[in-house]
């Protein structure tokens, strides 16, 4: 049997990888991919806890997370396309109109 | 430990047999398609290799095997080599949950063994849907990695088409799942035993005939067959996403297309036409011959699958290719509402008249 803490550690490592990806990448598509990484990390946690506590609620919430991820991708990619149309670039450093 | 060994050996044998049958069927299909198309168009089809051309698939296979393997200049070599595998593996892996015959259990060296289904998992249908959705990667990556505009256009078209029609396939299946109350193909087939009016296409509470039509049209579109073969439209895009492929890599794409055809035919037979069940109980071996039930059952299954495969060829011989916007409009504005309405009505019917 695999101890629950292993799953937690795995999920944290993946989550932090996602966070670092958001911080250090400049390609907006890869930033979105990193967000997917973070969502998956939480999902792993949910499922592991659901199994160890014998409570199906965790899996239901993974289901909701999937829904939200799908919505996020649809809107996010639409925004990327709109940005690319106006700036001809997907480098986040160039989108700085709101920067002071 | 011995049991695990026996289990592994049995499973591997089963997989080898199923793959062998599938690949043999693919070989036969390549010939049958050309022959049937020829006959429907008052031609003869291949006649040269062997008597009446029956050795043509062997000749084709040998030709493709010994052809020069070309990687176009500027192509992404790694993805270019990976794409055919990504297309072929999902097509073959789906056969793992198809029940080819009755749900018998045989004991071999103390190991429980089901000879006619490789693996009866309780999310069988979802498993197949999951892996067919991976098939789109082979197409889209093959198109992108070829470094050719025809391939790229074909790949992008195909990805859009496969995703749109996969949705309709999934929604069309839901009606059957509601009536059967299970996601396992074995259980779904078993729910259709008896006379042919128990088949889900004619099932009493609400016949799934609309779901069946939606499923079949979407399956034709998903396997990129005519009249929905836009990704590989010869007259517009040369050959679509595999324009730049030659030799064995081309053969893999080809195999994937035909294996996908067989897979969707098997699913259609199992979900809508009762799988291995005969139209009437007395058409199976029974009574003193009951121990041969598996034989007649597999034959019935094969008959149904081959009927669908023939339908594929028949449609190809009859219908012209759709335009791309027509294809998309048909998928989203016609097929999708019909599938959703079918789910609604089936749910109400299943609630009012629960089965068994």
């Amino acid at each position: 049997m695999v101890p629950l803490s292993y799953y937690v550690i795995l999920s944290v490592i993946v989550f932090v990888t996602g966070v670092v990806g958001v911080l250090i990448r400049r390609n907006i598509i890869i930033i979105l991919l990193s967000v997917e990484l973070m969502l998956n990390a939480t999902n792993i946690n949910f499922v592991a806890y659901s199994y160890y506590f014998q409570n199906i609620t965790g899996q239901v919430f993974v289901f909701f997370a999937l829904t939200v991820a799908a919505a996020e991708v649809a809107v996010g990619l639409a925004i990327i396309i709109a940005l690319y149309r106006s700036k001809s670039s997907i480098n986040v450093d160039e989108f700085q109109l709101l920067k002071w | 430990m011995v049991e695990v060994g026996v289990k592994i050996v049995l499973s591997l044998t089963q997989i080898a047999v199923v793959m062998g049958v599938v690949l043999l069927t693919v070989m036969f299909l390549t010939l049958a398609e050309r022959k049937v198309l020829g006959w429907m168009q008052d031609r003869m089809g291949p006649m040269e290799v062997g008597p009446y051309g029956i050795l043509q698939p062997v000749a084709d296979g040998l030709k493709l095997f010994f052809k020069e393997d070309i990687v176009p200049a500027g192509a992404n070599k790694f993805l270019f080599s990976m794409a055919p595998l990504l297309a072929l593996v999902p097509a073959l892996i789906g056969f793992a949950v198809i029940p080819f015959g009755p749900d018998l259990t045989v004991e071999v060296f103390g190991v429980q063994f089901k000879p006619f289904v490789i693996s009866d998992i309780n999310v069988g249908i979802l498993y197949i849907l999951a892996f067919t959705s991976i098939g789109a990667y082979g197409i889209i990556l093959g198109g992108w990695a070829s470094n050719s505009k025809y391939s790229l256009l074909g790949g992008l078209r195909s990805a859009a088409q496969v995703i749109s029609y996969e949705l309709n396939v999934g929604l069309a299946i839901v009606g059957v799942l509601l009536l059967a109350g299970s996601l396992s193909l074995v259980k779904i087939t078993e729910a259709q035993t008896g006379w042919f009016w128990n088949w889900f296409i004619f099932a009493p509470p609400f016949p799934q005939i609309f779901a069946f039509v939606v499923y079949f049209i979407s399956a034709v579109a998903e396997t990129n067959r005519l009249p929905f073969d836009l990704p590989e439209a010869e007259s517009e895009l040369v050959a679509g996403f595999f324009t730049e492929y030659s030799g064995m890599r081309f053969a893999f794409f080809f195999l994937a297309e035909y294996a996908n055809m067989i897979l969707v035919s098997c699913i259609a037979a199992a979900l809508f036409l009762g799988g291995w069940n005969a139209p009437a109980p007395f058409l199976q071996f029974h009574g003193s011959l009951a121990h041969l039930l598996w034989l007649s059952a597999t034959i019935w299954f094969a008959v149904k699958v081959y009927f669908f495969l023939f339908l594929f060829f028949w449609l190809r011989a009859t219908l012209p290719r759709l335009r791309y916007d027509q294809l998309m409009r048909f998928g989203w504005k016609v097929m999708l509402p019909i599938a959703l309405g079918n789910i609604l009505i089936t749910a109400i019917a299943a609630y009012l008249f629960p089965r068994g």
């Binding site: - | 006959w39 429907m40 008052d42 031609r43 003869m44 009859t318 219908l319």
Partner: protein, 179 residues
């Protein structure tokens, strides 16, 4: 009427009609294919196949080197180098005669242009070669084709008229046929 159309759409009426047509052809299977290398079509006499140069029955060439075929050819297939017949200053013949069959489109204009009927179109069409240069034919090759394709030359009687048959000098010993 509206309802009828709607029902037809629902049951895929048009598609079923089309599928019926294809199935009928499958069941009443009468192929129109010819297994070409094994069986061949019988060609009409007026088939426009390979070009050839013709001879008279006594073996002399019909061609008088007038260059009209070269002028008539739309694709510039033909090249004629004409010369005097040695010792007979009034008569000319084609000293060299070339045809670039890679460019020929088999229109038959050269045959119609020829005043002495020296060109003919045979019924040969199996002229696939591995080297394009093999299709650049000289006079000997063209005459060989003519000999092969027209072993017996039927004379066209209207050309026996003295005004027309001015060039047909080789046939003077034959009595003119009456119509």
């Amino acid at each position: 009427m509206k309802l009828k159309d709607w029902i037809k759409t629902i049951i895929f009426y048009e598609i079923l009609v089309g599928m019926n047509a294809t199935l009928r052809h499958l069941l009443h299977y009468k192929p129109i294919t010819l297994q070409y290398p094994h069986e061949k079509r019988s060609l009409p006499d007026s088939y426009r196949g390979m070009l050839s140069l013709l001879r008279y029955d006594d073996g002399t060439e019909k061609c008088v080197g007038c260059d009209l075929c070269e002028a008539a050819c739309p694709s510039r297939v033909i090249k004629v180098i004409s010369a005097e017949v040695p010792g007979e200053p009034t008569k000319r013949y084609a000293k060299e005669y070339y045809m670039d069959m890679t460019r020929c489109l088999f229109c038959g204009l050269c045959v119609q242009a020829c005043p002495v009927d020296a060109l003919g179109m045979t019924r040969e069409y199996e002229w696939a070669v591995y080297d394009k240069r093999h299709l650049y034919l000289n006079k000997e090759q063209l005459l060989a084709i003519g000999d092969r394709a027209f072993p017996v030359r039927e004379k066209r009687l209207e050309l026996q008229h003295p005004n027309v048959a001015f060039f047909n000098v080789a046939f003077t010993h034959l009595p003119p046929k009456d119509n």
